[in-house]
C-alpha cells in the first residue's frame, strides 16, 4: 500500500470530510495551498510524504490531552474548560475602546498593552479584504487596533496571514485566535519541524470563546433573503435568552431566528469540542453566563491559562488598562456546564459521522469529562471592583 502524501491525507481526512474549520494553518505555507472564498484550496499536487500543512492542522489526529500537559501547568488543567489559572470579568478601562468593541473591549486593551510594553511587536487580528471577506491582518501600529474590535461570524483564516510572514520579517506577534486556531498554534509550537522557526514568533495567543461560525456562502444567501447587503452590516450579536441573531446596519437592526442561522453553521463546527479557547494564554468571551440567561452587558468573561497570560493580566492591573471584578457566583459553573454540553454534542456528532464509538476521527486518546459537581477553581485572582463593593 503506497502511503498517501501529506497533502493527499489532508484532503482525504479533513477537507473532503467537512472537518476543515478554515483556521488557515495549512494555507500559504507553500504555493500549493491557499484559502479562498471560505475554503482551503489545493492548487497543485504535492507528493511530499510529510508536511507542515498536515502537522499544523487542528483536525488531523491529535492528542490534545498530551498537548495540554506540554504547554500548561498540570495542576491548572480542568476537564471541562482546559487549563485555568484565574477566572473573572473584565472590561477595557478606556471608554473609547469599549464603545467600538463587541462587549468589553478586553482583547483590544490587552493587545494595546502587549504592544506598548514590547511583549509583542505586532498583533495579528482579523480584518477584511476588498471583497469583504475576513482575512488575517498584521497590525504594527497599536493605534490601528481598535478598528478590528468587532466579532466575526464567518471564519477568518488568520493563520494563513501568519504563514505568509517571511522568516526574516518575523517578530514576536500577539495573535487573536479562535479555539481551532489556538489548537493549530499549539501544534505549531510543539511540532518541532526541522528548519522551521516560525513558532518562535508566537508571542502571545489571546483566545476567543466560540460556539460556531457560519459558512460564508450560506450566510450570504441568508442575508440576501433579508435584503441586507453584506457591506451594510455593521455589527452582529446574539442577545441573551431571545433565540435570535441581531443584524445591525447603520440605520436598523434586523432579527433572524436562530433556527435559520443554525442551518448556515459551517459543518466543521459540529465536530468541535472546544468552546473556550483552551490552548490560549488568555481566553476572552462575552460577559454572559447561565446559558445566556444572565448578562453583564459590556463586560467580558476572562480565563487566564498560562504563565504568560498571568504576567499579562498582572501588567494590565498594574497599568490600569482593565477594570476587573469577580465573576458572580455560579458563573464558572455555568461556563463549565455550557462547555461540557458543547463537548458532549461534538462527540456525539463525531461518532455519528465515523459510525463507531471507537473511531473519534481527529481525537487521539480523548477522555470526555464526566458530569460532576464543579469545584472551586484554584488561584482565582480576586480584585475588588472599582466601585468598592466586595
Amino acid at each position: 500500500m503506497i502511503k498517501l502524501g501529506a497533502q493527499a491525507r489532508l484532503k482525504k481526512y479533513v477537507l473532503t470530510q467537512g472537518l476543515c474549520t478554515g483556521c488557515g494553518a495549512c494555507a500559504e505555507l507553500c504555493p500549493y495551498q491557499v484559502f479562498y472564498h471560505d475554503r482551503t484550496v489545493q492548487l497543485f499536487r504535492c507528493d511530499l510524504a510529510d508536511g507542515k500543512c498536515y502537522a499544523f492542522c487542528p483536525r488531523t489526529p491529535t492528542d490534545y490531552q498530551s498537548l495540554k500537559e506540554q504547554l500548561f501547568d498540570h495542576d491548572d488543567l480542568t476537564d471541562e474548560i482546559g487549563p485555568v489559572k484565574g477566572f473573572f470579568l473584565a472590561r477595557a478601562a478606556d471608554a473609547g475602546v469599549r464603545s467600538r468593541a463587541q462587549h468589553g473591549g478586553t482583547v483590544t486593551a490587552l493587545l494595546e498593552l502587549a504592544m506598548s510594553e514590547d511583549l509583542v511587536e505586532a498583533a495579528l487580528v482579523s480584518g477584511q479584504n476588498k471583497e469583504g471577506e475576513p482575512e488575517g491582518r498584521l497590525v504594527t501600529n497599536k493605534s490601528d487596533l481598535a478598528v478590528y474590535a468587532k466579532s466575526r461570524f464567518t471564519v477568518s483564516p488568520t493563520l494563513a496571514a501568519f504563514n505568509r510572514i517571511k522568516e526574516e520579517g518575523r517578530k514576536k506577534i500577539g495573535i487573536v485566535a479562535t479555539p481551532c486556531q489556538a489548537q493549530a498554534l499549539a501544534k505549531v509550537r510543539t511540532a518541532a519541524i526541522e528548519g522551521y522557526t516560525g513558532a518562535q514568533s508566537i508571542g502571545l495567543v489571546i483566545g476567543l470563546f466560540c460556539g460556531w461560525t457560519l459558512a460564508a456562502e450560506k450566510f450570504h444567501s441568508l442575508l440576501g433573503e433579508y435584503c441586507l447587503p453584506l457591506e451594510e452590516l455593521k455589527r452582529m450579536d446574539i442577545p441573551p435568552g431571545r433565540n435570535v441573531l441581531e443584524l445591525c446596519t447603520a440605520e436598523k437592526t434586523l432579527e433572524v431566528p436562530l433556527g435559520e442561522v443554525e442551518a448556515c453553521i459551517r459543518s466543521a463546527c459540529r465536530y468541535c469540542l472546544d468552546s473556550t479557547g483552551e490552548f490560549a494564554d488568555v481566553s476572552v468571551g462575552a460577559g454572559r453566563y447561565g446559558m445566556g440567561e444572565h448578562q453583564m452587558s459590556g463586560w467580558n468573561q476572562v480565563l487566564v491559562r498560562s504563565r504568560r497570560g498571568e504576567e499579562l493580566i498582572g501588567l494590565a492591573r498594574e497599568k490600569g488598562v482593565l477594570e476587573i471584578c469577580d465573576a458572580p457566583d455560579g458563573a464558572l459553573d455555568e461556563l463549565k456546564k455550557a462547555a461540557v454540553e458543547k463537548k458532549r454534542q461534538g462527540l456525539e456528532n463525531i461518532v455519528a459521522k465515523s459510525g463507531s464509538g471507537k473511531n473519534l476521527l481527529y481525537l487521539k486518546n480523548h477522555t470526555q469529562p464526566r458530569d460532576k459537581k464543579a469545584g472551586r477553581v484554584k488561584s482565582v485572582s480576586r480584585q475588588k471592583r472599582q466601585d468598592g463593593d466586595s
Binding site: Y32, V41, L43, F44
Partner: protein, 646 residues
C-alpha cells in the same frame, strides 16, 4: 529553385508527399486544396511554393469538406484538381464525398488520403480505404517513391476515364519517407476553365452536376467502375515477383510491399515465397487475382491498418474457389499480423517466418542480454509543450482557476499542440479528461453543461486552437449559445496552425500562396454569436486566472476567453528571447524550500531543469525561449528576468 520543378529525366530525392505533388504537376494540375494534417501537409505546402511558376491555385481551406468542395468546383469546370488530407479529414469530407461520387466529376479529381497507422501523429488509427469501396470509386495505393509519383499522375487520367473521384492512399512511412524519383516532363500549357450545365440531366459532360435522379445515376456510376476493373487487370503498377509455384503467396499493398521484400531478404526466402504487389486495391482485378491465387495454397495478406484487402481477397477467393481451390489465409483475422498498430520489417518477418518455420538470424545471446541491461537504464522521453509555449501558461491559469473554484471543473479538449494536455496529464496539470476530433471539445462541453438537471454540477470548460475554431467549432458554439449551455470557452490563439508546421488559417492576413488576404476575427464571430468575449495574454498569470475564476462562477451564458500569445516556434518568435531568464542561486532554496520543486516537478518546462549536484533549479539557456512566465511561480522569487538585448 524548388526541386518540385526539376527537369525531365532528373533523379531527385523526394519526400513521398513531394512525389505526390510532382506527379500532380506532371498531370497538369490546376487546383489543389487541403487542410493541414500530419502526414499530409507537405503536399499542399510544396505546391504552394511553386504555384506562381506553374500557374496553380493552391488553398488551405478551413476544413477538409470545404477543401474537397473547392477542388470539385475546379473539376466541374474541366480542370484537374486535387484535395489532400489525413485520414480524419476524409471523414470530415465524407458527406460531400458521398454526393460528389454520385454526381460524378469532369476534370480529373484525385482525393489524396495520407494515413497514420500506429497513430504516430494522430489520436486515432482510422482507415479511409473503406470509403472507396462504400462510395464505389477506384482506390490506388503506391508502394514506393517512384510509384507514388507515377500513380498520382495516372490517377488524374483514370478519374477522367470514369468521370469520378479517384482515391490515392498513402501512409506516414510513404508520405514522410524519402527516396529516389526519376522525374518526367512537366506539361507546357494549362487548360481553361469552362463549366457546362445546360445539357440533359443524364449527360455527365454537359448536364447539371447533381446526384439526381439518384437510382439511375447510381447504376451508371457502378457501370463505370466496372470499366476500371478491366484497366486494373493490365495495370503495370500491379506486379508479381517470386517463383512460379511458391510455398506461400503474399498479397500486399502500400509501403508494406517494402517490408515484405525486406523480410524475405532477412529470412532468405526470396526463392520460396511469391509476392503479389497490388497498387489497385479497389476494385480488385478478378482475373489477376485468380491467376496468382492459383499459385499457392497458403496466402498471407500484409496491409495497414484494417484487413480491407484481406476481406476483399477472401470474397473473391470464395467465389472462385471452384477454379483455384480452397486457400488457407493468414493475416489480421487469424492473428498472424497484429490487428492494430503499424507494421515494420520485423513484424512482417515474424509473421512470414512463423508460417514458413524459418527463424530470423539474431545477434549472439550475450549481446542481446547486454542490450537488455542497457535498455533498462533509459528514461522515457515524454512529449511536452515547447519552452515558451503559451499553452503551458494557459493551462497553468486554467488549473489555478479550476482549483480556486472548487467544484472540480474540467476541460473538454480538442486537436492541436494543446492536445498534449490530455495525452500527458501532468503536462496539462490534470485538467483535460476528454479528447476526440476537431471541434468536438466544444460540442461535448455543450452537452455536459446541460446535465446539471441530472446532478452534474461542475463548471464545464472547452478549449480549442485558433485554426480549430474555424474548422469545426463554430456550429458547436452556436449550439451552446442557442441551447443555453453555460460553458467557459477558451480559444488558445497562437497565431497559426502550429502542430502541423505553422500553416496559415483564416485568422491571419496571409494565404497559402503568400498573398495578403482579409482576416476573419474570432472575437467578432463569437460576439456575433452572442457570447460574452474577453481577450487576454496567457503570460499575464494574475489577470488571466482572475478572469477565468470569474467566468467559472458566472452562470447562464457562454463565456469566451481568447488567450492571445504567439507560438514559440512561430516565425515572429523563433530564436528570439523577450527576456533573459536565470535562477538566482542565492535565493533558490532547492529542496529545503518546501515547495516540493514547484518549478521543475509541477510547472514542467523543459528549460527549467534541476541541477542534481547543486540541488537547485537552473535555466538551460540553450532551450529557454525567454518568455519569462516561470518568474511568477517561484515562492522565493528566485527566478529572475531581465529584458533581452536584441
Amino acid at each position: 529553385m524548388s526541386k518540385l520543378l526539376s527537369p525531365d529525366k532528373s533523379t531527385v530525392l523526394f519526400l513521398g508527399n513531394e512525389a505526390i505533388a510532382r506527379g500532380a504537376l506532371e498531370a497538369g494540375l490546376a487546383v489543389a486544396s487541403g487542410y493541414p494534417g500530419t502526414p499530409s501537409s507537405e503536399v499542399i505546402e510544396s505546391l504552394a511554393a511553386v504555384a506562381d511558376r506553374r500557374n496553380l491555385y493552391v488553398e488551405w481551406s478551413v476544413n477538409e469538406k470545404v477543401a474537397l468542395e473547392v477542388a470539385a468546383a475546379a473539376s466541374f469546370s474541366g480542370l484537374r484538381a486535387m484535395a489532400v488530407m489525413k485520414q480524419n479529414g476524409v471523414n470530415v469530407a465524407s458527406d460531400f464525398l458521398l454526393h460528389l461520387t454520385a454526381s460524378g466529376t469532369r476534370g480529373g479529381l484525385v482525393l489524396v488520403s495520407c494515413e497514420d497507422p500506429g497513430a504516430l501523429s494522430s489520436v486515432n488509427e482510422g482507415e479511409s480505404r473503406y470509403f472507396a469501396r462504400m462510395l464505389e470509386i477506384p482506390l490506388l495505393e503506391p508502394a514506393d517513391f517512384q510509384e507514388v509519383k507515377d500513380l498520382t499522375k495516372w490517377a488524374f487520367e483514370l478519374s477522367e476515364i470514369i468521370g469520378n473521384v479517384v482515391m490515392l492512399r498513402s501512409v506516414t512511412r510513404m508520405s514522410h519517407a524519402s527516396g529516389n524519383v526519376v522525374c518526367a516532363k512537366l506539361p507546357a500549357r494549362s487548360r481553361r476553365a469552362k463549366f457546362s450545365y445546360d445539357g440533359p440531366v443524364m449527360d455527365s459532360k454537359t448536364g447539371p452536376m447533381i446526384s439526381t435522379p439518384v437510382v439511375a445515376k447510381h447504376l451508371l456510376h457502378q457501370q463505370k467502375l466496372k470499366t476500371v476493373e478491366a484497366l486494373f487487370e493490365k495495370s503495370p503498377f500491379n506486379s508479381y515477383t517470386g517463383p512460379a509455384r511458391p510455398e506461400l503467396l503474399v498479397i500486399t499493398s502500400s509501403v508494406c510491399f517494402l517490408y515484405v521484400r525486406e523480410a524475405l531478404s532477412m529470412l532468405g526466402l526470396r526463392g520460396r515465397v511469391g509476392v503479389l504487389k497490388l497498387a489497385t486495391t479497389w476494385p480488385l482485378p478478378d482475373r489477376l487475382l485468380r491467376k496468382h491465387l492459383g499459385r499457392a495454397a497458403k496466402v498471407l495478406v500484409v496491409e495497414e491498418v484494417l484487413p480491407f484487402l484481406e476481406e476483399n481477397v477472401k470474397v473473391l477467393a470464395a467465389a472462385m474457389a471452384g477454379k483455384t481451390g480452397i486457400k488457407t489465409f493468414f493475416g489480421k483475422y487469424d492473428g498472424t499480423l497484429p490487428a492494430a498498430g503499424e507494421l515494420n520489417p520485423d513484424i512482417v518477418a515474424d509473421a512470414i517466418g512463423g508460417i514458413m518455420k524459418v527463424r530470423r538470424k539474431k545477434p549472439p545471446a550475450s549481446y542481446l542480454s547486454e542490450i537488455k541491461k542497457a535498455a533498462s537504464l533509459i528514461p522515457a522521453r515524454e512529449q511536452t509543450f515547447c519552452a515558451g509555449c503559451p499553452h503551458r501558461a494557459s493551462f497553468w491559469n486554467i488549473r489555478r482557476a479550476i482549483a480556486l473554484d472548487g467544484r472540480e471543473g474540467f476541460v473538454c479538449g480538442d486537436i492541436g499542440c494543446y492536445s498534449m494536455a490530455a495525452l500527458s496529464p501532468a503536462t496539462g496539470y490534470h485538467t483535460m479528461p476528454t479528447l476526440h476530433s476537431m471541434g468536438s471539445g466544444t460540442g461535448l462541453a455543450g452537452g455536459f453543461a446541460k446535465l446539471s438537471a441530472f446532478g452534474l454540477e461542475k463548471p464545464i470548460l472547452a478549449v480549442c486552437g485558433d485554426s480549430t475554431f474555424y474548422h469545426a467549432v463554430i456550429p458547436a458554439l452556436i449550439n451552446a449559445q442557442h441551447n443555453r449551455a453555460d460553458i467557459t470557452f477558451i480559444v488558445l490563439d497562437n497565431a497559426g496552425t502550429a502542430m502541423t508546421g505553422f500553416q496559415p488559417h483564416p485568422g491571419l492576413t496571409v494565404s497559402a500562396l503568400g498573398e495578403t488576404v482579409p482576416a476573419v476575427d474570432i472575437a467578432a464571430v463569437c460576439r456575433g454569436i452572442g457570447a460574452k468575449v474577453v481577450i487576454a495574454d496567457p503570460f499575464d498569470i494574475d489577470t488571466t486566472t482572475k478572469i477565468l475564476t470569474g467566468y467559472l462562477a458566472q452562470k447562464g451564458e457562454v463565456k469566451v476567453l481568447i488567450l492571445r500569445q504567439a507560438c514559440a516556434l512561430s516565425p515572429e518568435k523563433k530564436g528570439k528571447k523577450t527576456f533573459d531568464v536565470r535562477v538566482n542561486e542565492e535565493l533558490c532554496l532547492g529542496d529545503a524550500c518546501g515547495c516540493n520543486r514547484l518549478c521543475t516537478r509541477v510547472f514542467r518546462c523543459p528549460a527549467l531543469t534541476w541541477d542534481k549536484d547543486k540541488k537547485k533549479a537552473v535555466v538551460d539557456e540553450v532551450i529557454c525561449a525567454g518568455c519569462g512566465v516561470c518568474v511568477s511561480i517561484c515562492p522565493q522569487k528566485a527566478i529572475e528576468k531581465a529584458q533581452a538585448v536584441i
